[in-house]
Amino acid sequence: MKKLIVIIIILGAGNFAFSQGAVMTKYFEKYSSDEDFTKVSVSSKMFSLFTELDANTEDEKEFLDAISKLKGLKAVVGENVESSESKKMYNSAVADVDKEGYEELMTITDAEENVKISIKESGGKIEELILVAGGKSKFALLSLYGEIDLKKISKLASSMRVHGMQHLRNLDDDNDNDRN
């Protein structure tokens, strides 16, 4: 009986872990052989290397602190996507994110680009942040996972040159507004 409970717990944990990255996995597989889409995967091993760097300023210290708690980053970025296709992809990705139970954090809609940032929390901590962006000729799906501090995310956004991450800078302004 005990064995059975243990097996059920292990299987349950496995399914939970899988469902965390289900949206990203789907898009990685879908565009794996399409050269027009750049697939980026950064592991916790890479982030751990940053902890060896020396911080010279307070900003750098905050950046290294934020990055050391991340477990990974994945992104699928498409440039030169047809406008109609980009819109379809954006809507489809947003629907997939909503279906997986992510909570909406921020939406930006303007003439150039639509952006939706969503999070998944566990035990009061943000464990995954997912960003969907669709513009006139661009599409980006980006997932950050690990222990995420929204106040420090803007520091990452300023330092990482991955399309879509620039929108995360808005989170800092949003937090400041919330506090005031």
Partner: protein, 170 residues
């Protein structure tokens, strides 16, 4: 053949200490294993390569013409660095073989530009490629990662003897 000779040698009466035998066998097998891991890249790259650069501690120090201390710190514990530059090649084929050996992924990027860095213990392999050109490397030893940003500045300022450029210009 080499292995058979080693085993025969170890079975000679002069090698009576079991500890000595064990240590020698361990050293032998670890060097064979290390060679095998390096050979995955070699097998892939040797036929396709335009440029092959092989650095050992002495040659790594030699290219530091301005004697930058950061560079010395970076490469101090590097035992070997192999760099291949080639025209083309399916990058996933040989990197997957390293993954099968337990090399963990640090970063992977595929698209118009490919970039991969894998590592296991103190061995690293990686590639960077775009528009039909591919650079791949194998590194054995430890790298002082905190020195990389300063080192990039040094390379950009042209203080380092550019062996790659020198070879490409030939």
């Amino acid at each position: 053949m080499v292995l058979v000779a080693w085993v025969d040698y170890l079975q000679e009466p002069t090698f009576e200490s079991p500890m000595r035998k064990t240590l020698l066998l361990l050293a032998l097998f670890s060097s064979i294993l290390s060679f095998a891991q390096e050979s995955i890249l070699k097998d892939f790259a040797e036929e396709r390569r335009d440029v092959k650069l092989c650095f050992y501690p002495s040659t790594l120090r030699m290219i530091n013409i301005k004697k930058d201390p950061n560079y010395y710190e970076l490469v101090n514990d590097v035992e070997k660095l192999l760099i291949y530059i080639m025209d083309s090649g399916e990058s996933t084929e040989w990197t997957d073989q390293y993954r099968d050996l337990g090399y963990e992924e640090y970063i992977a990027m595929y698209g118009k530009v490919d970039l991969v860095l894998l590592g296991k213990d103190e061995e690293y392999v990686g590639l960077s490629g775009s528009e039909g050109r591919l650079a791949a490397f194998y590194l054995r030893g430890a790298i002082a990662f905190q020195k990389i940003p300063e080192l990039i500045k040094t390379f950009q300022s042209g203080d380092m003897l550019s062996l790659i450029k020198f070879n490409m210009d030939k």
